[in-house]
Symmetry: C2
Subunit: 388 residues, 2 copies
C-alpha cells in the first residue's frame, strides 16, 4: 500500500495509534465519572472511527445531521441521538430511519415543535441552556414544563451542551462549566420528574468539560466528540497534549521563497478551513502549525550559547500565516531549513479546528505512527439531499 | 419541479438571472479593455456556470486544481490554465489530460520545476509577483530570465494575480493594483522578449482589478472568477452591488428566541464557512447577511418620524453573529419580526466569501429570481484522488 510520499495532496492523515489513545482516555473518563459515553460523531463522521470510539461502550452515538444518522445506521449503529434542534419537515426522513429499526432520538427547545413531535413516534430530549446561551430552555423556567407536558410519553430526557467551555480562559472555569452542565441538566430532569413527567436520560458534554469534569452525578451520559481527533484549539484548552492530536493535513510545498523566509504549500483555506479558533491561545498559530512528514517539528541546527558541543538542535515552530483558496503561506520566527526543502517536500499541518478542516475532505488516510498508509476511511460530509 | 420551500436545507441557491448579468458585465469589461476573458472557475466549479461565463468568449478557462481541469475537460473545455504553482508529481495526471487533447497550461516561479517541465510537453506560464507577495518572481529580477531560459520552447507566457486588491481601502488603490498587475506582467513579458525568449500570453486579473482597471494595454487575457457569483466581500470592494450577488445559502429556522432577539438557523460554520473577510467593510456582518426566502431584507413596520402616514416599512438588517458547526445564530439591531417567524421559516444568507462557502455544497439549486427551482447544477469539489 501507499506511503505518505505517494498519496495526492492535500489529504487528511489519521494516526490510528493516537486515535486509540484518545478514545481510551475518554473511555477511562466515563468509567471514572460513572457515566455512559455516547460519542459525538459530528467531528470524525466516519464509521471506522465510531468503531474505535464505541469499543467497550454501550454502543449509542450522537450525530448532528440526518445524513450522519442515515450513514451510521447503515453501518450498524442503531441508538442515535440527533443533537441539533429538530426541524419538523425532516420527520419523514427521520421516521423512515425509525421504521428500519433505528432508535433515533431528536431534541427540541420549542413548544410548537414538541406538539408536532408528540405523536410522531420518535423519542425526544428537551434541550437545556446551561449557560452557553446558544439554544435550549432555562432549566428553571416554565417553558421546560410546557414542553414536557406537550411531549408526554415521547419525552426521553434532557440534554445540554456546555459550549461556553470553549470560551474559558483557564481550567478552573472549564470545571465550572462542567458543573453548570451537570447542575442545569439535573435540575431540569428533577423538575420534570417532580411534575410527574418521566425523564430517563440526562445527557451532557463537550470535549473540554468531559475531559476536566470532577463530578457528573445525576447525569446518565456524556457526548464529547472532538477528543477523538484533537486539534490546536483543544490543545490550547488542555483537552489533550499536542502529541495526541490524531489528525493532520498532509501537504506539498509548491513554492520556496528564502528571501521572504516563506514556503507556499498546497493546503489553503479549503483544505484547512478559515477557522481561527486557536489563535486566541497563542501567537503564531495562523491557520495551523506546520511539521515535517513525520509530524515532528521542522528542525534545524542552531548554536546554543554555552552548550558543550557548541551546537544542538532545537525545534523550529512554523505556521500557516495566510490561507487563500489553494495556497497556504508558511513562515517561522527562525530561518526555515531551505537546504532540505524543495518544491515537492511533504509537510503536515495541525489545524485549528478539526471539525471544520476535516469536512473539506472525503476521508482519511490512516497511518499507525509512521509513513505507511494502512487504510482509507471514508466520511459522511454534507447534508445528503442534493441529487445533481 | 421543487420550489425553495421544498428542498432540504442548508442548500446553495443560484439565481441564474443575476449570474447572467454578472457574466455580461465582465464580458463588457473585457470588450471595453480589449482583452480576452479567461474566466476563473475555481469559485463556481460548475460546467453549467462555465457555459454562461464563456458565452461569446474565446472558450479558455482558468482552474485551481487538477480535479477541476479533469472535470471541465470532460465537459468540453479544452483550453485550460491551471493557475496554482505546479507540483511536478502531478505531471502524470496532467500529461494524461494533455494526451486526451487538453490544451493545458501550468504555472511556475521555480527554476528546478521549470527544468523538469521543459521537456514535459506542457505549455508553461511564469508566475510574476506584481506586489501581492504571495507567489511569483520579481518582474525585474534575474530569476525571471533564468526560468525563461530553462523553459525555452515550453514557455507560453507570463501570469500575475493582483491579490492585494483585496486589501485596498478604496477604489483609487484598487485601480493602482490594476496598474501594478499590468505593469508587472508587461515588464516581465518585454524582458523575456528582449532576451530572445518567445512570450505570447500576458495574463492578469482578480475580480476587483478587472472590474475597475482603466487600462490593460499589453495584456492578452484576464482571469477574474468571483464576479460570477459575488459575495459580501466583493460588495464591500465595489465589484458589484448587493442586488447582483447571485449565490446565497438557503436555510431553515431551527430555534426562535424572542427574549434574546435571536434565531438559530441550520446554516452554521460548515454551510457558510468560517471566512470573515467582509467584516472589515462593515459592522454587523458576522458570517453573513440574512434575508427572507425571496432574498429581500426582513422587513417590519416601524414608525418613521414625520412620515405622513405615521408608519412606513424600513428594511431590517439581520446577520449571523455566531456560527458553530451546524448552528448559525442570527440577530439584528432592531427587533426581529417574530410574529412571522417560526421553526421551519426559510431564510437566505449572503456569505462573506462565496469561494469558501460554496465548497461545502455538492451543487446549486437554480432559480430565475423567484422561488421556483428550474435546475440543479453540480460542482467539482475537492482534489479528486481519494478512493474510500
Amino acid at each position: 500500500m501507499a506511503t505518505l510520499h505517494d498519496i495526492s495532496t492535500p489529504a487528511l492523515v489519521l494516526d490510528s495509534t493516537r486515535l486509540l489513545a484518545n478514545c481510551q482516555f475518554m473511555a477511562g473518563r466515563a468509567a471514572q465519572l460513572g457515566i455512559r459515553l455516547r460519542p459525538h460523531m459530528k467531528t470524525a463522521k466516519s464509521a471506522d472511527v465510531a468503531r474505535v470510539a464505541t469499543a467497550g461502550q454501550f454502543g449509542g452515538i450522537t450525530v448532528s445531521t440526518l445524513a450522519e444518522a442515515e450513514y451510521f445506521f447503515s453501518h450498524g449503529y442503531e441508538d442515535i441521538t440527533l443533537a441539533v434542534g429538530f426541524l419538523p419537515e425532516r420527520l419523514p426522513r427521520a421516521l423512515a430511519l425509525a421504521r428500519l429499526g433505528a432508535k433515533l432520538k431528536v431534541i427540541t427547545d420549542n413548544v410548537p415543535v414538541a406538539r408536532l413531535l408528540a405523536d410522531a413516534g420518535l423519542a425526544v430530549l428537551i434541550e437545556i441552556d446551561c449557560g452557553d446561551h446558544r439554544a435550549g430552555v432555562d432549566p428553571g423556567g416554565d417553558e421546560l414544563l410546557a414542553i414536557g407536558r406537550e411531549l408526554r410519553g415521547a419525552l426521553a430526557g434532557v440534554l445540554t451542551h456546555g459550549g461556553h467551555s470553549y470560551r474559558c480562559p483557564n481550567m478552573e472555569e472549564i470545571k465550572a462549566v462542567a458543573r453548570a452542565e451537570r447542575d442545569a441538566a439535573v435540575q431540569a430532569a428533577d423538575r420534570l420528574r417532580d411534575a410527574g413527567i418521566w425523564c430517563e436520560t440526562v445527557s451532557i458534554g463537550s470535549t473540554p468539560t468531559c475531559t476536566h469534569a470532577e463530578d457528573f452525578a445525576g447525569c446518565t451520559e456524556m457526548r464529547p466528540g472532538v477528543y477523538m481527533l484533537g486539534d490546536l484549539d483543544q490543545v490550547g484548552l488542555e483537552s489533550l497534549p499536542l502529541d495526541r492530536v490524531a489528525c493532520t493535513v498532509l501537504t506539498s510545498v509548491i513554492g520556496v521563497y528564502p528571501a521572504q523566509n516563506k514556503l507556499i504549500v498546497d493546503a489553503g483555506g479549503l483544505a484547512l478551513s478559515k477557522d481561527t479558533s486557536a489563535q486566541r491561545h497563542e501567537q503564531h498559530i495562523g491557520y495551523g502549525v506546520v511539521c515535517d512528514i513525520d509530524n515532528k517539528p521542522i528542525r534545524r541546527a542552531v548554536m546554543v550559547e554555552g552548550a558543550a558541543t557548541g551546537s544542538v538542535t532545537k525545534p523550529l515552530h512554523a505556521w500557516v500565516f495566510a490561507a487563500s483558496q489553494e495556497h497556504g503561506q508558511v513562515t517561522s520566527d527562525d530561518p526555515l531549513p531551505f537546504e532540505k526543502i524543495t518544491v515537492g517536500t511533504r509537510l503536515r499541518i495541525t489545524p485549528n479546528h478539526i471539525c471544520m478542516t476535516a469536512a473539506a475532505h472525503p476521508g482519511y488516510y490512516v497511518v499507525e505512527g509512521g509513513r505507511q498508509v494502512v487504510g482509507q476511511w471514508g466520511r459522511i460530509n454534507g447534508w445528503g439531499a442534493f441529487q445533481g
